[in-house]
Symmetry: C2
Subunit: 422 residues, 2 copies
Amino acid sequence: MQDSTDIVSYCADIAGRAKVASRQMVGLSTDIKNRWLLESAMRLENKASDLLVANKIDMAKSDTFGLTDAEKDRLRLTTDRVSQIAKGLRDVASLPDPIGEVLEGSIRPNGLEVRKVRVPLGVVFFIYESRPNVTADAAAIAIKSGNAIILRGGKEAANSSAAIIDILRGAAVDIGVPFDAVQLISMPDREVVGQLLKRSDCIDLVIPRGGDSLIRRVVSEASMPVLKHYDGNCHVYVDRYANLDMAIRIIENAKCQRMGVCNAMESLVVHASVAEQFLPRLVKELSKYLIQFRGDKRCIDIMPTATEATEQDWSQEYLGPVMSVRVVQSLEEAIEHINQYSSRHTEAIVTDRVDVAQKFTREIDSSAVMVNASTRFNDGSQLGMGAEIGISTDKFHARGPCGLKELTTYKYIVQGNGHVRS
Amino acid sequence: MQDSTDIVSYCADIAGRAKVASRQMVGLSTDIKNRWLLESAMRLENKASDLLVANKIDMAKSDTFGLTDAEKDRLRLTTDRVSQIAKGLRDVASLPDPIGEVLEGSIRPNGLEVRKVRVPLGVVFFIYESRPNVTADAAAIAIKSGNAIILRGGKEAANSSAAIIDILRGAAVDIGVPFDAVQLISMPDREVVGQLLKRSDCIDLVIPRGGDSLIRRVVSEASMPVLKHYDGNCHVYVDRYANLDMAIRIIENAKCQRMGVCNAMESLVVHASVAEQFLPRLVKELSKYLIQFRGDKRCIDIMPTATEATEQDWSQEYLGPVMSVRVVQSLEEAIEHINQYSSRHTEAIVTDRVDVAQKFTREIDSSAVMVNASTRFNDGSQLGMGAEIGISTDKFHARGPCGLKELTTYKYIVQGNGHVRS
């Protein structure tokens, strides 16, 4: 633990360096950014053994940090996983450069030439969980979109992340990307986050990824905008006109493929006219997943193994083998229920009717609305964005998966010839 | 004054009504929105005499509120001004509807159809100064972009604004726009704002327009995003390669056309190699405006009437006949000075050199960067956006003039045929 004077000056130094780097990055060409990504990828693979050594240190401490087996698995690096990380950087290199894109433009009646041009946000402060691959991904996305990034990773992956960042910064210096374009916080103190959240003079955006309590703390302390990544209480609505075979397949995929992720399904809404036929079949087909169903009264009448859902259940992101089930009398009631309880992340409808699908996609207020497809598709790579730094549950600035474009802003460049306003 | 229980329930009612209205507005057609705008315009003109009566009550109280002559002038309605307000609504009707625009779209390799579609933000809470025309403009922009709006105008214009809103709501009911799409706060208590700022469950965005202290209060209390409209400390840089005649014309327009607006020039930066020739000429040509110049040492050597600028002067938005003047040795020093002290609103360069203009427009981090044109052009109508609800000094979500598109977000609509993720 450091005393707080040390922490204040450490944070001032980090924030100031990031700001200087971000100004230098304004002129960085696509070519330089891509060469840095490719060079970093090559060095990560060439130095994989160094990374594995660093990772072993983290793994050895993982019991001390009380990591679960699943968490340990996500922390572990192997030669294959290092290659996956390198591939991630190469994928980002192959994406179009968002910077400099002319979003709109016109010549005004008086001859003024107006262009709205995409520019970097500046400095991004990213707080994230302990997976080493996220360290490399976040740095790649930030720099490709012209931003400097300050990384605050989980202490569980401190050695692995530091080894990755050393390689990325080494490549930066050799290729001509500012050394401080990527900085990793090395001080574990909680107060470091608090100090950096005060530096809106240097930091343009903070992205906290992790539990609800982390995000709430950041929102309450941050002096700059926060891109929030709250729960995914995702719904699947099985309409009266649903293909029930398809509904089973979609629910199995949405709920059971990976129960612990934010785009996994948590709540089922079923139209009453198919509930008696559908729900018992669902119970049977998903029996191997040992799912606990929590339903409303109409649901319990049909599914005797279901327990009664509390008000809390309707808003709950379980991230495990529990599912809430609501039986509705109409499409309108389904939409009303979902808009009331969802976290605006992802919802899906299964229906054969075009008019029903249209009403659902229009009226559901979530970042992604799926028709006859699994909620699991709300993901940057699945939607064609190539890479993501998170999935925003905000409506302001960016919504849904956040990739390169979501880390940019724009400015107006206006060219005149002595124009004055009359 | 109301007691606080009354205020809490009043605000809960307002916020809840706005939320309900915003959901109803999701399906509102362009045709209905435009018919409401045109009908409202017609009724405002037909009932101009009622508006003038209401305005007379406000004017009669204006001394009690301590309004300056300029403020009284902005508050005053005339038949002509009512026609201007009506014209503003017709202009908004003629703008393209932003809602439903497909921003991007693709068919993924697995056949999933992905569309990124522009949708309303939801409910906007707008706090503004006492000009009656702003009441109508804000309502028009909000509804055309599919949002419900809660208006909190200055108490000085309470009667004028209420009369305008009565007409707009009357037209809404008759045309089929939800009655509560526009609501005007009638309770003058300061606590009303505080209560509404807590309602992030109903309100998606707050836009405070007014003094610095209002914006800071809103930022510190708001639980939802705030679109900020801070100072405009706008710079004009006269380069060594400037056409000096053009520089004089641009500075005269930028500084003197309307001194009290946010896109007015406040700070002059001059390259040393033209300073001796340019500054005395500037003093002479602007003499009729009685401008007080506050400069650095090099400036004072050249302009004996200038006083020494303090550190505070470099960041100051004067909104009156004062100008800070800085002499620099290089383009780099000019950019450095501007990026350090500007409020990121609007900056201009006067230069004949393409390479200098390119470096300036790239490296200056402001919402609008003008080349050989007045800072006064940073304005929604001048840049071709048709109407604006403010000029954002934020980089997040929207930057510069905020019109229809800036009050929208988007969602992904994904169409499959039983697609599950592998």
